[in-house]
């Protein structure tokens, strides 16, 4: 049984983003880029399922510019078996939204059959939290979002997923094929060893052209403006509990 893990190249989570002065977006030139942390967790989940003997192959896919190859090499170094870049450079006039990505992944899966797709629950750039659910809908597969635990039973054609929900932890049993999206506590991704980085260089990384996939992609949204969020100012330091309570009672009037 094969598993697909889509990975997104995003601004590294340690970088403080800067909005461009013209309000068209955020600065990405000369900024450290990395694999979306939730996708790292998704990949780690797939690796552990393969190590447990439940998967035969892990395919990593990224949709974007040539530089996404770096992200895919990282996925291969972590243990993915093969990788595909769906190159978007010839359709750069449209900015890809989650519904586009979901449609592209659906088309990819028609050529590369997998019974399980594990995605990060959201990307830390646009924070949309949509792609996995949209893909599940397009494929008419069940979904286990915000997963903190996965138990795969390939012979039973089912997967048990524990989900982090507002009310606590919900556990569902999904029929395979299925979509899972990873939450933070699913696992802690492993470190990459140097030998694995070397090994990754010889693993297959194929480049597909999005243009050749011949998909009509219409924009669903138009970005009008990006601006920095209002930041809070540091207030005052108080000396002790008495002063704190005085401030909260008589100045802020919240007690």
């Amino acid at each position: 049984m094969k598993c697909l893990v889509p990975v997104k190249r995003v601004i590294d989570f340690n970088v403080k983003v800067r909005v461009k002065p013209d309000g068209s977006g955020v600065e990405t030139d000369h900024v450290k880029m990395s694999m979306n942390p939730f996708d790292e967790i998704a990949l780690e989940a797939a690796l552990r399922l393969k190590e447990a003997g439940h998967l035969t192959e892990i395919i990593a896919v990224s949709i974007g510019e040539q530089a996404c190859q770096e992200t895919l090499r990282v996925a291969l170094a972590r243990g993915a078996d093969r990788a595909y870049l769906i190159d978007t450079k010839e359709i750069s006039d449209i900015s890809l939204e989650p519904i586009h990505i979901a449609n592209i992944l659906k088309k990819f899966l028609a050529q590369h059959a997998c019974e399980l797709v594990i995605l990060g629950k959201q990307a830390i750039d646009d924070d949309c939290n949509q792609t996995g659910q949209m893909l599940a809908a397009l494929l008419n597969w069940p979904q286990g979002t915000f997963a903190s635990k996965i138990e795969l039973e390939p012979t039973q054609k089912k997967v048990t997923v524990t989900r982090e929900v507002d009310g606590g932890l919900q556990t569902l049993v999904l029929q395979l094929p299925a979509i899972i999206t990873s939450d933070l506590r699913l696992n802690e991704p492993r470190y990459i060893s140097l030998p694995n980085v070397m090994k990754a260089k010889s693993k297959p990384l194929d480049i597909l052209s999005l243009k050749e996939m011949d998909m009509p992609l219409q924009p669903h949204t138009k970005v009008l403006k990006v601006e920095p969020a209002k930041s809070r100012q540091a207030g005052v330091l108080v000396e002790n509990v008495q002063e704190l309570l005085d401030k909260l009672m008589y100045e802020a009037k919240v007690l």
Binding site: A137, L172, K222, P228, A234, V241
Partner: protein
């Protein structure tokens, strides 16, 4: 001629009562249109449908009841909503311009699936409604805001519930909205509910509490959270936590405040032993007043706190509890 279009509000509930998110989502819906139709999907949830019908601004309530709608299963609920929007609603001379639900784990799970079934986009975590097609939402953990225009014929929005003041939960409305019961669709049988682990709590719900006290790694253990529980109970506050505290197993996952946890905006947020990672701050920075208590004077939390107190939380918190009693600030007990 194109008829009047309505806004569909997908209600979140637990089959007994409406969730807080529904009231905030209704407030957002009223900024778009006066034609608000509510849909409630559940099991033995007639009372919730009646509660909805009493809310101001709601024109009509549609209600569907079946065992397979009991546990918020995304497959069955999304399928029902997409069929309702595409086909069923026409029987009632309704067409929809928008579908709204709260940006809770309910809405985040289900609405994108509805978007996929309708093959349209979705605007997540709407903070502000500029016009019927233009919205403001956060990106990069709330460090930037983007104004987006939706180009879809039907606009799907999840609403950041802290950004909209809920309409009153008790309406003095004289006439109640009509309630129409719909036939369920057959269960898709793709997923099956096993269980929901929930810790019962008498404290206010985190996302709607007026006061939130959150603990971080500085609490050092599960037992030490008792200090915060005592203080919270005196103030009628809810308890939250940083990711570090949840990862360490001090408190369950549903306490987490932050980019990937819950977003809160109480009148008073007290961060105890929390350093203030950007992912945490994005979940609480819209609180009216922020207090930080931390032994490290260089902790980033102090840069956004209105009042900071540098010191040992194991002395400060018990003293705070005692002093609140002395000053007769007890909200409870």
């Amino acid at each position: 001629m194109k008829g009047l279009q309505s806004v569909l509000l997908l209600a979140e509930h637990d089959n007994k009562e409406l969730k807080h998110s529904t009231f905030a989502t209704l407030a957002a819906a009223t900024e778009i249109s006066d034609e608000i139709i509510a849909l409630i999907i559940g099991y033995q949830c007639r009372e919730v449908a009646e509660q909805l019908a009493k809310l101001e601004k709601i024109k009509k309530v549609f209600w569907v009841d079946a065992t397979h709608y009991q546990h918020e299963l995304a497959e069955d609920i999304a399928f029902f909503v997409s069929q309702f929007v595409r086909a069923t609603a026409a029987q009632f001379n309704l067409t929809f311009s928008h579908v709204l639900t709260g940006a809770t784990t309910f809405g985040k799970n289900i609405l994108p699936r509805i978007a996929g079934l309708l093959n349209v986009g979705q605007i997540s975590d709407v903070l502000q409604i500029i016009s019927s097609d233009t919205f403001v939402r956060p990106i990069y953990a709330g460090n930037a805001l983007v104004t987006v225009q939706s180009l879809d014929g039907i606009k799907l929005l999840t609403v950041r519930t802290t950004a909209f003041t809920p309409l009153s939960t008790q309406s003095a409305r004289a006439e109640i909205a009509a309630i129409e019961k719909l036939s369920p669709l057959a269960s898709l049988g793709q997923s099956q509910f096993l269980d929901l682990k929930q810790e019962p709590s008498d404290r206010p719900e985190l996302t709607s509490a007026k006061i939130v006290i959150s603990g971080g790694r500085g609490l050092q253990s599960q037992d030490n959270f008792t200090l915060l529980f005592e203080l919270a109970d005196k103030l009628g506050a809810a308890i939250g936590a940083s990711r570090a505290a949840v990862d360490a197993g001090f408190v369950p996952n549903d306490y987490q405040v932050g980019q990937t946890g819950k977003v809160v905006a109480p009148n008073l947020y007290i961060a105890v032993g929390i350093s203030g990672a950007i992912q945490h701050i994005s979940g609480m920075k819209d609180s009216k007043v922020i207090v930080a208590i931390n032994k490290d004077k260089d902790a980033p939390i102090f840069q956004i706190a209105d009042y900071g107190l540098v010191g040992d939380l194991f002395q400060i918190i018990p003293e705070l509890s005692r002093e609140i009693k002395v000053r007769n600030l007890n909200k409870v007990g």
